[in-house]
Symmetry: C2
Subunit: 238 residues, 2 copies
């Protein structure tokens, strides 16, 4: 159990993310007071999707065969299209994408570097797990954005990411190679920590006096639960 504020969280009922087809939560955590400003959100989410695109493009370039290359190129296209959708939102508000993304370059580039993996399968797992977790996170966080933008962004980010090809490649490789499977399970566990740190950095500093901590924790519990389901789906132990 990962704890983000140095003490064990209240064990609230953990809501699930509807975008992954899991049961609806009976009680939804109110995230509105925890969401960053719109500009912060758009800049960070846009640069996240650009990074996801770059990682997928690297996976395209090093794909072992043409059919997989072709499938990955479609997934790269989806990430790029989400990025451009967010850039459009930034422009619509009269801002420059480069200026808005600027503050997140150093930390997100470092995150991409750390999670790029030692080989093609690790890279693929990073694209799938970190990409999925961050997309879940930004969709969740968009609940706290103003109504003239939040739902539109949630819809954009919730569009099919074309990751079936990643799941298929990883499943097949894991089934056929026990050693690879155990290495990827380790890699997946490492990834979740680094990725949650990125997510945490997208939220304002928690103020214990206001009880922010107790409200944030269930959101991370949700994210970890969705991550665990992705690991399970690949045949990996989270």
């Amino acid at each position: 159990m990962v704890t983000w504020f140095g003490r064990r969280p209240q064990r609230n009922e953990a809501p699930r993310l509807s975008s992954r087809g899991a049961p609806q939560p009976t009680e939804k955590v109110d995230i509105s007071s925890l969401a960053p400003g719109v500009q912060h959100f758009l800049g960070q989410a846009a640069y996240c999707e650009l990074g996801e695109f770059e990682s997928l493009a690297r996976a395209v370039a090093t794909a072992p065969n043409l059919a997989v290359k072709e499938g990955l190129s479609a997934a790269a296209g989806r990430a790029l299209s989400k990025h451009h959708g967010l850039v459009t939102e930034i422009r619509r508000r009269g801002h420059e994408p480069a200026t808005e993304m600027g503050p997140f370059v150093v930390s997100l580039d470092e995150f991409r570097r750390k999670t790029s993996g030692a080989d093609w399968h690790e890279l693929l797992l990073s694209c799938y797990l970190a990409g999925g977790l961050l997309e879940d996170f930004f969709i969740r966080l968009s609940d706290g954005l103003p109504r003239d933008i939040g739902p539109r962004v949630a819809q954009l980010l919730g569009e099919n990411s074309g990751t079936d090809v990643l799941v298929h490649e990883l499943q097949t490789a894991i089934e056929n190679d026990v050693e690879l499977g155990s290495r990827l399970a380790m890699w997946g566990r490492r990834l979740v920590g680094d990725t949650l740190l990125v997510a945490r950095s997208a939220m304002p500093a928690a103020d214990p006096a206001e009880g922010a901590e107790a409200r944030i924790e269930p959101v991370f519990t949700e994210l970890i639960a969705a991550h665990t389901r992705r690991m399970d789906g690949l045949g990996l132990t989270a």
Copy 2:
């Protein structure tokens, strides 16, 4: 003057490529008998656009600043979208994209490797010049395809490639650095030879008895003229 068949070509009036805004030719070379079969065309053109996407994605990953990265990502998206458009045509005809692209992988990967350049500016110039020449070429060649597909493919390939950002970056760099300019001029001259060889490989072997040679040569003259205009536009001597 590049000669492709071991003797000097007839100096026909060289038609210009309409897609680059140049004057219309008074006399158009009939390319129909020189065009490859539809499957050959689609497989090769699709893999060419995928390669262009991969090169642009590498340029995105190594871009010197965020505004340029952003512009290049749009250009990469355009190449990817053309690739996927060609893949759709392949599927529409009941074929598998990977099977159709397969025969061109070795030669086109080798071409990409040879033309990837020693640094970011050389890579950018390759994307612009080789990408532009090959796109011109496939548009020209599509004249020889059946009417139920040729015009649609020509329209797809003729869509804006988003290369303004490449031109702007190259122009600025060349203006500010004479030495870089002369290195890039050399690189541009090398590129045209390698790129024309790719184009030549897309056409059936010329049969001198049928006069194919004399009909092919003006097409290459057109391509070289458009290449020269691109070089001129950057301030480089072709």
